[in-house]
């Protein structure tokens, strides 16, 4: 009885303590994230503006042509100028010229007779079925059109899925994002490994010194370190001037606004994230093993490769995984030191929001990026779980 009372008290205290943080997290964090997910399929911005057309299309067989024309005019007449402008902008994202077509028609909606013939007479483009197909696609409140655009998949005339040439832009960008993240991961591991090794196995003073540099770098803002690379890599910047002075090159090299600059700067920025986990693992490797191996006659290099390296792999995996996941979402560094061919998924998400107000596409791409990161974390988490289970089993 006493213990249950205690547990009850604990639960109450936990509840009281957790109420505020949970409320803030849910309101300020989970709800916005959920909002982005639903925004990627939410088409109410368009569908709510066409109630009559929705009814007309729901009648099956898409109703008669005149019925559709009448419904369109009825819906357009019901829109104020602002709503018409927004609708026109969104439809124009689907097909060029829809904007002026819709605005012109909307302005005169009251004066056009509610028949298809009158509509086509007002503007011959209404005779083109493509415009009607766009409307039909955008009438449901839920639509996968953003994801269709992201993947470039289109339903062909025969009903099968096809990818039109040039429509695979976002697939290519996703592939590029993965490739850059992978390249950066490999580079950070390659450069980070000796550093982690020196911290764990060098003299005390050397280890402390390197650790200080790593930590300082870790806590220096990404933007500051990117700034340093912009200054270094400019066409007439430090590095080029040094190379010219040394006579290595006769004219400045292009080091910035390309893949080289992007990889170098990202590697530098992410290096501490690789070093710290590797260092933590390496510190747990007993030095006695190395001594034993050497006393058995193995050389330094052989001892390292056969005894030390396999044990440090766990740190390599953790460090590499961290860097890879962080690299996937990078925005600032590629935006400042890369060219258009080096931008990653984040850049296009930002572009859609800032330049074209296309929240639907921005959220569809965000969902993909978020899904990718969470998927990787899940794989990573389950791998660790399996590994600990196996260890316990043994």
């Amino acid at each position: 009885m006493l213990t249950s009372q205690k547990a009850h008290g604990g639960r109450l205290a936990a509840f009281l303590l957790l109420v505020l943080p949970l409320a803030v997290y849910i309101l300020v964090y989970l709800v916005p994230l959920g909002g982005i997910v639903s925004l990627s399929v939410d088409n109410r911005g368009l569908s709510d503006r066409f109630p009559a057309l929705r009814a007309a299309f729901a009648q099956g067989g898409a109703g008669t042509a005149d019925g559709r024309a009448a419904a369109l005019l009825q819906d357009l007449a019901g829109l104020d100028a602002k709503a018409r402008g927004e609708t026109a902008r969104m439809l124009n994202q689907e097909i060029s010229g829809f904007r002026s077509l819709l605005l012109d028609t909307g302005r005169d909606a009251a004066t056009i007779a509610p028949t298809m013939a009158a509509l086509v007479a007002f503007d011959p483009r209404w005779g083109d079925p493509t415009y009607w197909e766009v409307i039909e696609r955008n009438i449901p409140a839920l639509s996968l059109r953003n994801f269709q655009k992201v993947t470039g998949l289109k339903t062909g005339p025969d009903g099968g899925l096809t990818i039109a040439q040039g429509d695979d832009i976002y697939l290519r960008i996703m592939l590029r994002t993965l490739v850059i993240a992978l390249q950066v991961t490999l580079l950070t591991l390659l450069i980070g490994y000796p550093l982690a090794y020196a911290i764990a196995n060098g003299s005390r003073r050397l280890g402390t010194f390197i650790l200080m540099v790593v930590l300082l770098s870790f806590w220096t803002s990404i933007l500051v370190r990117t700034t340093a690379w912009v200054v270094l890599l400019q066409t007439n910047g430090l590095l080029n001037n040094l190379l010219l002075w040394l006579g290595v090159v006769s004219e400045p090299l292009q080091l910035i606004f390309n893949r080289f600059g992007t990889l170098v700067a990202m590697t530098h920025v992410l290096l501490p994230f690789a070093v710290i986990p590797m260092m933590n693992v390496m510190r747990t490797i007993p030095a006695a093993q190395n001594q034993a191996s050497r006393s058995l006659g193995a050389g330094g290099v052989e001892t390292f490769l056969r005894v030390y390296f396999p044990q440090s792999l766990r740190g390599v995996v953790v460090g590499g995984g961290t860097v890879f996941i962080l690299a996937l979402g990078f925005y600032v560094t590629p935006a400042l030191v890369g060219g258009p061919g080096d931008q990653m998924l984040s850049y296009y998400i930002a572009d859609f929001v800032r330049k074209t107000l296309n929240w639907g596409m921005a959220s569809a791409l965000s969902v993909l990026l978020l899904g990718g990161v969470l998927g990787l974390l899940a794989i990573y988490g389950s791998a660790r779980w399996v590994m600990t289970r196996r260890k316990e089993g043994v």
Partner: protein, 363 residues
């Protein structure tokens, strides 16, 4: 027993309860304070401009005389283009700008969506003194901008003269700076390919025309370096990072005045008009209208053009300006073979062509 005692102690322990309440209270106060900081803040008249010496000249020619006449203080911010901020202001009702200078296409788009105040041209009474293109439902055209290309005269003593030269890597080797945006670039490419200015938009409206423009860029793609901000081409040209770059005439001419060896090419350049607009439901709407009168004034526009070599929209300004200033403006002889940017074309085609441009530039 012990726990029971503890539980009892907990029940009959008022100081703790009081402290708890205090903690809750201060938490609530903190949260409320954090949330209300911005909402209640009264603000100054706010003007959003393109920054740089463009905005410096506007400050001297318009902002300061206006603030003095109205007896108000103003603050300035930088506008990055597009409608994102304006859309937010309209949706949240928190209108933080009172004036913004923007390009024709954005103005039209925003006007259609009700993001700008409609102007009462009769009340303003300045329509007759302005170029017809400067008078639109939501904006007052204020500045004529020249968009062309420039080169470093030290690199090319016998400089390039036309868009065909800009795309000619054999005769003029070296990197080319262009804006990472299809608008104007596609027009430049067609003119380089021999399309006369008055037919550019006809050709660009066809799929073959678009292909033709992209084909021009394909030829020089390896040498391209893309800029975002108008100050970049000037920096790059002066530092010899690029051999030629598309640029705004004002920035280049200002740099040349400072002694940098840069030359702007007027041939077949593109003119466009930047216009002032008032974000919808600005609390300073009345004052903003007064500002428009100040900005439309011929003498004030002359002050602006002599500080920053962009053209006036007041038809009487040219008469007030000295000849050496006019020689650097997108006006008169300089624009005899110019193309005027078609806002109508870009409003319809921007989404599609930007997608194609991105697809092309990222490959």
């Amino acid at each position: 027993m012990v726990q029971q005692a503890a539980a009892r102690a907990r029940l009959i322990n008022p100081p703790d309860k009081g402290r708890n309440m205090k903690l809750m209270k201060s938490t609530t106060i903190l949260m409320t304070a954090a949330l209300s900081v911005s909402v209640a803040e009264a603000r100054d008249f706010t003007i959003a401009g393109w920054g740089g010496n463009y905005q410096d000249a506007q400050r001297a020619a318009y902002f300061e005389p206006f603030a003095k006449a109205q007896g108000l203080t103003f603050i300035e911010t930088t506008y990055l283009g597009g409608l994102a901020e304006l859309k937010t202001m309209s949706e949240t009702g928190n209108v933080i700008w009172d004036l913004v200078i923007t390009d024709g296409a954005t103005l039209q788009l925003g006007c259609d969506e009700g993001l700008f105040e409609e102007l009462d041209w009769d009340a303003l009474g300045v329509a007759d003194s302005l170029l017809p293109d400067a008078v639109t439902p939501c904006g007052m055209g204020n500045v004529v901008i020249g968009n062309g290309f420039a080169y470093n005269a030290q690199t090319f003593p016998d400089g390039p003269k036309s868009w065909a030269d800009f795309f000619d890597l054999a005769r003029y080797p070296g990197k080319r700076g262009i804006k990472n945006d299809p608008m104007m670039n596609l027009e430049y490419a067609l003119m380089a390919d021999g399309v006369p200015p008055d037919q550019v938009y006809e050709v660009l409206a066809t799929p073959e025309g678009v292909d033709r423009a992209f084909a021009q860029f394909d030829r020089i793609k390896a040498e391209l370096q893309y800029w975002d901000a108008g100050s970049q081409p000037v920096e790059w040209l002066a530092a010899n990072n690029v051999a030629m770059s598309t640029a705004y005439n004002g920035r280049i001419i200002m740099a040349a005045k400072e002694g940098k060896p840069l030359t702007y090419v007027w041939t077949n350049q593109i003119s466009n008009i930047d216009a002032w607009a008032v974000p919808a439901n600005s609390p300073f709407k009345e004052q903003a209208m007064e500002f428009l009168k100040v900005a439309a004034d011929a003498q004030n526009q002359a002050t602006f053009s002599s500080l920053m070599p962009y053209g006036p929209t007041n038809v009487e300004t040219a008469g007030v300006l000295p000849a050496d200033v006019v020689a650097n403006l997108p006006a008169g002889e300089n624009i005899k073979d110019s193309l005027f940017l078609s806002d109508a074309f870009w409003i319809d085609h921007k989404d599609e062509l930007t997608e194609r441009w991105n697809n092309w530039s990222t490959q």
